[in-house]
């Protein structure tokens, strides 16, 4: 791994830490409905399929995050890697992180959402696939941000309508499902 190669996909202001983007209270873009781009973290660190695990681990350590998108040579998002994936690969493969390929540990099933999609659609995807984070990918396949269930949670308080997709009870169901035993297994393991 070379430090010079530690490219950062920057989509907001250069150098702005990701947390700043979500600390700002977002306003709905139109008609009271939040769009994914209103609440996502626009600055995203990524790694590539050819990297070894020390690179995503370093990004997680430096930027205090738990999931990093994995890009192919065309800069398209082809997977996700979490701190848990790294922990388990280190255990199963029994080698230092610098000797384990990202490709051998990353999840290859990646569900993404468009920046212009309503937040409720992103929430539906998380619920359906039992995932807590979605890479935000534009129509050209470029990674433009990350959306977490926590981002959705922070914008779910306003809805008092029980049938609204972002009512607290609905978000809670997603959460309970995402954390239920076995949810951390890969989709392909779940059958």
């Amino acid at each position: 791994m070379s430090l010079q190669h530690a490219s950062v996909a920057t989509f907001a202001e250069e150098g702005a830490p990701p947390s700043e983007a979500v600390e700002v209270e977002a306003e709905p873009t139109r008609g009271g409905a939040f769009l994914v781009s209103d609440v996502m973290t626009p600055l995203v660190y990524s790694c590539s399929l050819g990297d070894t695990l020390d690179r995503p681990a370093r990004l997680m350590w430096e930027h205090d995050c738990g999931a990093i998108p994995v890009l192919d040579e065309r800069q398209h998002t082809v997977g996700m890697i979490t701190d848990r994936d790294i922990c388990m690969a280190a255990y199963i493969q029994g080698r230092p992180l610098a000797h384990i390929a990202v490709a051998s540990a990353a999840s290859k099933h990646v569900y993404s959402v468009l920046p212009g999609a309503p937040l409720s659609e992103a929430h539906h995807l998380m619920k359906m696939h039992r995932v807590r984070r979605l890479p935000v990918v534009d129509i050209g396949g470029n990674l433009v941000g990350m959306l977490s269930l926590a981002d959705v949670l922070r914008h779910s308080g306003g809805s008092l309508d029980l049938h609204h997709p972002l009512h607290v009870e609905n978000v809670l169901t997603t959460l309970a499902d995402a954390f239920r035993p076995g949810a951390s297994r890969r989709p392909e393991d779940r059958g």
Partner: protein, 155 residues
């Protein structure tokens, strides 16, 4: 509603002198992301998470079997008692921004673990209990996972 009604009693533990490989094996077998570290008397002295293991593997550059739990685990632990009210546990999670609390008896021995996910599952169960409302759990989660806490439900 009390902690003992919601907590998980079947908890796998490890010791401070175990290797990180052993802790990771427990997490793999039990499909969990956090294991309490207990001393010889069964008292919790630390908590270790899959994230702690990931970061230790990176900063130390060794295999998990070469690293010890005590060097990677967080020694700041916040506990509750089985007969504490759920509201007390929620308040503690919000205050200290932790998703899990070890439950200890009067002698300080580990008897269970209470996670915010246990609260979510119980709140979802639908009974209209004022002590454990969906809104309350969401507020706790929002506090635990605020950007300043540096967590995004990942842990």
């Amino acid at each position: 509603m009390r902690v003992e009604e919601v907590m998980n009693r079947r908890v796998m533990v490890c010791g401070p002198n175990d290797s990180l490989g052993h802790a990771a094996q427990i997490m793999w077998d039990a499909d969990c992301g956090c294991v309490p570290v207990v001393d010889e008397g069964g008292k919790p002295v630390a908590m270790i998470t899959d994230r702690d293991i990931c970061i230790a593997a990176y900063t130390r550059g060794k295999t998990l079997s070469e690293l010890m739990v005590s060097g990677a685990a967080s020694h700041h632990i916040f506990t509750v008692r089985p007969d504490d009210e759920i509201a007390t546990a929620e308040q503690r999670m919000r205050q200290f921004r932790v998703r899990r609390l070890p439950v200890v008896d009067q002698e300080g021995k580990l008897v269970g673990i209470l996670s915010v996910n246990d609260l979510a599952r119980h709140a979802r169960a639908g009974q209209r209990r004022e002590e454990l409302s969906a809104e309350g759990v969401v507020k706790t989660l929002a506090a635990v996972c605020s950007p300043r806490a540096g967590c995004d439900l990942a842990r």
